[in-house]
């Protein structure tokens, strides 16, 4: 069979074999329910505790500050709805950005329908939120700011520490009921994360973006922050998220977090070098391309490119038939007709928004992979352009 190159690590990552190995005992003999008092249960409980420690270490948190949930989407839902439910008596205004993941966007929209006000901050052409815009948007009834750490389509890294600084100033001025959440689902494992340095109150993670299986995520909740639980009827996760713990997935997440922490620098260096080589290759070989997102302040594994005159999905399928997996916009929002709202938010015209393709590398992407894509991509673009009426204008 022809070469297969997976360049869609922003959608999901393959599971690291060391992670599979770590979770395997919990899929076989160590199957206890952590709530059980007997040995089987205690064994499972201990494994969950160890994993919690490892995930906490990835972001510089305390283990008891983490709540395991089923996905990044659930982490975002829990964070925003959990704060909103508690904070409603103090105000019903939320500040967010125009380029959040659909799960943040969706929850904010639902709150809007219940009478909340939502300010969606624009981003510049570089895909970055301006701290000054955040400052200007804060009102006395603002209770939550939710701005992602790194974007999932263009990889831009938002000035979270600076926004936290603002939030602390506000609090000192007596604005006590103001919380700050950041969605770090796309960032984790691709940049160093330290909650103390970021200064946020809540932070979302998802396992399957860092070589753990799908079905597990976590929400960091800074000690002292009160959150209304959204899954009710059980004492798990210190009464903050009911339901039998997904022990094998939690163990896997722990192992993946440990590896991500240990190997972070090497992964970043490798991915960035290959990504830059890729982008240079594209710039040399293909005309009329626009690179999306700030050149420096972005994740090292991701390259978002708009190809003029053509539409991304045709290119995606063309590449797929040649063994190369990429994506247009966010996998989660696919199935819709609208061109990516993220690329539109950069001020790009509709043609560039529809022509945007995301190439996202992984820790195991090789030079050969990139060379193969550089070989195939120009022809694929060319063949689509040849049939485009826009190209023949």
């Amino acid at each position: 069979m022809k070469r297969r190159v997976y360049l869609d690590h922003s959608a999901t990552t393959p599971i690291d074999p060391r992670v599979v190995e770590a979770m395997l005992p919990y899929l076989t003999e160590k199957f206890g329910n952590p709530s059980s008092v007997h040995l089987f249960g205690q064994e499972a409980r201990a494994a969950v505790d160890r994993a919690r420690q490892l995930v906490a270490e990835l972001i510089g948190a305390q283990p008891q500050e983490l709540i395991f949930v089923s996905s990044g989407t659930e982490a975002n839902n829990l964070a925003i709805r959990g704060i909103a439910e508690r904070a409603a008596p103090y105000g019903r205004h939320i500040i967010t950005s125009a380029i959040e993941h659909p799960s943040v966007r969706g929850v904010c929209q639902a709150l809007e329908q219940r009478g909340w006000e939502v300010t969606r901050l624009p981003v510049g052409e570089d895909g970055l939120v301006r701290v000054e815009d955040v400052r200007a948007a804060i009102r006395p009834d603002t209770v939550l700011i939710t701005i992602m750490l790194a974007n999932n389509e263009i990889g831009t890294i938002q000035p979270i520490a600076e926004i936290s600084h603002l939030v602390r100033e506000e609090r000192q001025r007596g604005h006590r009921h103001l919380w700050f959440h950041t969605d770090a689902v796309q960032a984790a494992g691709r940049m160093a994360i330290n909650v103390a340095e970021l200064g946020c109150d809540l932070l979302s993670l998802s396992g399957h973006k860092l070589y753990a299986p799908k079905g597990i995520g976590a929400l960091y909740v800074r000690r002292g922050v009160q959150l209304a639980p959204q899954m009710l009827g059980g004492h798990q996760e210190r009464d903050r998220r009911a339901g039998t713990e997904a022990v094998p997935l939690i163990v896997a997440f722990g192992k993946a977090a440990e590896l991500a922490r240990q190997e972070l620098d090497a992964r970043i260096e490798r991915m960035r070098a290959l990504r830059d080589r890729f982008e240079r290759g594209v710039a040399e070989r293909i005309t009329d391309v626009v690179f999306n997102g700030h050149r420096e302040r972005r994740l090292p594994h991701l390259s978002n490119i708009s190809f003029r005159y053509i539409e991304g999905e045709g290119l995606l399928i063309n590449l797929d038939l040649q063994g190369i997996a990429v994506s247009t916009g966010s996998a989660c929002s696919s199935g819709t007709l609208e061109p990516s709202p993220v690329i539109r938010a950069l001020g790009r015209d509709e043609e560039l928004a529809r022509g945007a393709v995301r190439f996202s590398l992984g820790k195991d992407t090789s030079e050969e992979d990139i060379d193969y894509v550089l070989e195939v991509l120009p022809q694929a673009v060319e063949s689509l352009r040849r049939i485009s009426p826009l190209y023949h204008r």
Partner: protein, 120 residues
Amino acid sequence: MYSEIFKDHLTHPRNAGELADPSVVVEESNPICGDRLRLALRVCEGRIEEARFLAYGCPPTLVCGSIITEMIAGLSVQDAARLTRQDLLDKLGGLPSRKMHAAALAIETLRLALERLRGD
């Protein structure tokens, strides 16, 4: 998700491009999503001798352009006018429901081209 015929047309579009001496050229854009299809026909004695297309948009739109030119090349204008959306769908192995309007665009563009011909 897509049929083999579909993929084949996507990677090897037939009759792509422009005609040197077209009898008619029409370009339509899909009001729903902005996809575009340009058809150029050379007709001689009531028969479509050559058909070319250019398309911009999602894969179904591109493939419909390629397939419809293949279907009409050599047909009499009358027969071409009788082609339906369903004929096209049958040929390309179906489309997901949210992409049906790609086939509609192709048939509509063909209809317009034939009308324009008659009008000349």
